[in-house]
């Protein structure tokens, strides 16, 4: 007889011990990225891109900054999860796999922090 509750047995299953959360977060970020990327692409393509004043002026608006930061974080998160799966599926050497997973994690965090920091600078300058 097991003293574990049925809930305790099923929570966090799978080899990574995180259950379905990886799969689920990838879907949640995917759905969030549909409006975020559409909004950003349509807006940026309507700007004269060679004009520093026009582009920095648009990104300096408060709500634009908020949604650009949301876009950067959601995109980095979704991309981090996706690249992780690709590395785990196709890179078989233990050292190479560990190195690439670490590299991907560092690049994604650095990219997200840089994009968020830049959006904040543009919003307050």
């Amino acid at each position: 007889m097991s003293l574990r509750t049925p809930l305790g047995k099923v929570l966090g299953r799978g080899s990574a011990g995180e259950g379905t959360s990886h799969w689920w977060v990838q879907r949640v970020t995917a759905i969030a990225l549909i409006p975020l990327t559409l909004w950003f692409a349509v807006s940026i393509l309507g700007l004269p891109l060679n004009s520093y004043e026009a582009v920095s002026g648009w990104l300096g608006e408060p709500w634009v900054a908020v949604f650009t930061i949301l876009l950067a974080i959601t995109l980095a998160w979704h991309s981090w999860l996706g690249v992780q799966v690709v590395i785990e599926d196709y890179v078989h050497g233990k050292a190479a796999k560990t190195f690439l997973l670490l590299f991907s994690t560092f690049v994604h965090f650095a990219g997200a922090v840089a994009a968020v920091f830049a959006a904040m600078i543009l919003a307050v300058s």
Binding site: R27, A30, I31, I34, T37, A41, I44, L45, G46, L47, P48, L49, N50, S51, Y52, V55, S56, L59, T68, A72, L75, A76, S79, G82, V83, V86, V107, H108, A110, G111, A112, A114, A115, F117, A118, A119, I121, L122, S125
Partner: protein
């Protein structure tokens, strides 16, 4: 450990074009990840001031960079369209063979058209004369 049963590998299946759409989803996803790093770099250039932004835009105007940008555009647009196809599948709909083939064809046509549209809009956005 070496004696564990293996599931049949890809080689045993007859090739259908939906297989290439599937692997293309991963390839375009990874390409869009690289584009994200470029996006962060571009935002940092913009935040660094007019000179840095002009230098970044000059860097993006080289033929190689333009080719990469078209590739990134197709990658993003394809991953976007096929991603919606995947989200529909997640609800249990559209999984019949004929339906999956039809939606795959729709994704290819939509991505090619949208890539052409974005490239055209991008060229227009880059050629607007800058008034000082």
């Amino acid at each position: 450990m070496d004696q564990r049963p293996l599931s049949p590998h890809l080689g045993v299946y007859k090739f259908t074009y939906t297989m290439s759409l599937s692997i293309l989803h991963r390839i375009t996803g990874v390409a869009t990840s690289i584009a994200f790093v470029a996006f962060a770099w571009w935002l940092m250039a913009l935040a660094s001031g007019p000179e840095a932004y002009a230098a970044a835009m000059h860097c993006l105007s080289s033929p190689l960079a333009k080719l990469l940008l078209v590739g990134f555009t197709f990658s993003f647009v394809y991953h976007f369209c096929n991603g919606i196809r995947h989200l529909v599948w997640d609800t249990g709909r559209g999984l019949e063979r004929a339906q999956a083939r039809r939606s795959g064809l729709a994704v290819i046509v939509a991505s090619l058209l949208l890539t052409a549209l974005v490239v055209w809009l991008g060229c227009t956005a880059l050629t607007v004369p800058v008034t000082p």
